[in-house]
């Protein structure tokens, strides 16, 4: 690929292979994600879409192939390692801890302690500061939730997902991976989350969006990675191709070679 003219490649995977017993989930899959883009990943069931995402987010380790983050070869043995490397993942099951407050959910696993001896000796959490930071983070992304000390479960599904996305955006250094973030949501709520995903991208983060929802994909994606038969089938440019052709490529009814040249993204 003519990488010189393109924006910086944030994350790259080459020839990923993952087998589960007899089943080959990933059969030499490639992947490329650029700075400040929303890359949609689509694919039929069993196309290797979720195996690819699991490899990228550290949920599984591929049998072979390499993943580069900012040009450096990396190997994630757990989601925690991927997270430390600056890759945040938002999962489909909305809430993290429904009975806990929004601020607690935002800072879960990254809690702030009070300064001085109360923090170091008594290990006391700095709840006020976490609430203030939460307010700032959500305001930055224009998520209109007022009280950070209400339980997550008092929010609507869309608002909860906004909290999850905001959490990821706040802590991701490089990449935010979103696995079906709008799947469980109604039209209006889905739109709210899509809008938020765009804002995350506009802040310079690279976003991977896994979705079955074609209208949503076409609404926000800059490029579309089509997973097919454990490989990368092709990468499409949503501005140059329609939804029905995209679905045809995804299901194998249409071969990428038969597409007009400019439908493929560069």
């Amino acid at each position: 690929m003519n990488a010189t003219a393109q924006p910086r490649v944030v994350m790259q995977a080459t020839a990923l292979v993952k087998r589960y017993g007899q089943v080959t989930a990933l059969d030499g899959s490639d992947f490329e994600l650029r700075a400040g883009e929303i890359l949609a990943v689509i694919g039929d069931n069993g196309a290797g879409k979720s195996s690819l995402i699991k490899a990228l987010s550290g949920a599984t380790t591929p049998d072979s192939g390499e993943i580069r983050l900012d040009g450096v070869v990396t190997k994630f043995r757990s989601p925690i390692e991927a997270r430390r490397a600056g890759i945040e993942t938002v999962y489909q099951d909305l809430a993290v801890a429904p009975a806990m407050t929004i601020a607690e959910n935002l800072f879960l696993g990254r809690e702030m302690r009070r300064p001085g001896w109360r923090g170091s000796v008594l290990r006391q959490l700095d709840k006020r500061r976490m609430i203030e930071e939460s307010v700032a983070r959500l305001a930055e992304l224009k998520v209109g939730i007022r009280s950070m000390s209400q339980a997550l479960e008092t929010l609507s599904g869309g608002q909860r997902q906004c909290v999850a996305v905001a959490r990821a955006a706040a802590f991701a250094k490089h990449v935010v991976i979103m696995d079906e973030p709008t799947a469980a949501l109604g039209v209006k709520e889905g739109g709210m989350v899509l809008e938020l995903i765009r804002r995350v991208r506009d802040r310079g983060l690279a976003v991977v969006l896994i979705s079955h929802n074609m209208p949503h994909v076409f609404e926000v994606a800059d490029r579309i990675h089509v997973a097919r038969l454990g490989k990368r089938g092709c990468v499409l440019d949503p501005k140059k191709i329609g939804m029905s052709d995209t679905v045809a490529v995804m299901t194998g009814a249409l071969r990428p070679e038969d597409l007009p040249r400019d439908a493929l993204a560069h």
Binding site: A99, M100, E104
Partner: protein, 334 residues
Amino acid sequence: MSAATTDAGASKPNAPGPRWPAGLSVAVLGPVIALVLACTFFATQSDHFLSGGNFSLILQQVAVVGVIAIGQTLVILTGGIDLSCGMLMALGGIVMTRFATTLGMPPVLAIGCGIGVTALFGLVNGLLVTRIRLPSFIVTLGTMNIAFAATQLYSGAQTVTDLPPLMTALGDTFSVGGTQFAWGTVAMLALYAVAWYVLRETAAGRHVYAVGNNAEATRLVGIPTQRVLLVVYVVAGALYGVASLLSVARTGVGDPNAGQTDNLDAITAVVLGGTSLFGGRGVVVGSLVGALVVGVFRNGLTLMGVSSIYQVLVTGVLVILAVTADQLSRRGAR
């Protein structure tokens, strides 16, 4: 898009009322009302009930169950349950008293060994729950019986007597305004204060809640959930050991038949105290109130001359009522 700036929960017309995480108020209010009602009822049934001496006695009786209930609260908050708590308490008592008498160990060391044994059992519980991924219910049912058998075998089903005075020091009392209070009660209250602080004010405590809320999501967030669970079971085990000491101190002997009612009493206390059996919700101080309710029932029924079999029956009814209330409130919340 305007949708993104909609105001959240605060103004939702059909939003349910305030709930657990807001603080103590809602969670503890129910059991406090139950406590007041129980006290009122027993005050009308017995002239002795409201005396300072009886109040002090209830507190002493509650100390053992109260401390066990702290450990039980931790386990239940993670979504598990610990059926071995009462039997571990009995085992710890026999170990520390036999070590101090038969082996002639210094009392402090013997106490440490007793607590060590219960903590070790907690570790076994925790390892089986985390490593083999067995349900806590069945694991602790197993260790409960192992602990019971070990207690009977090691003690020869004999009560251990002639304890060194240091071992029963927590049973000593001091006087406040003419009423005697035991140091064991103070120890229990101190442990509740520590547990309350850790669960509420530290990351480690919040992680216990997070594991009970959604273990898988918590793991993916980067919290070592297995380690959280393991620590919870070990700490719970150690707390049962402390309860052994309180029991030994109160009765003055190592009793191999201790702890028989404490399993159910502790679970009842925790559930009455508003901690959800489904995990992730509850306040540890609620368990203290729950333990007081159980203690008041046992004490009040004794004063009324009701046989202990009926006390067991009442506790059984109480735990079912509390769990039903929990389940119904969960359903209402969804």
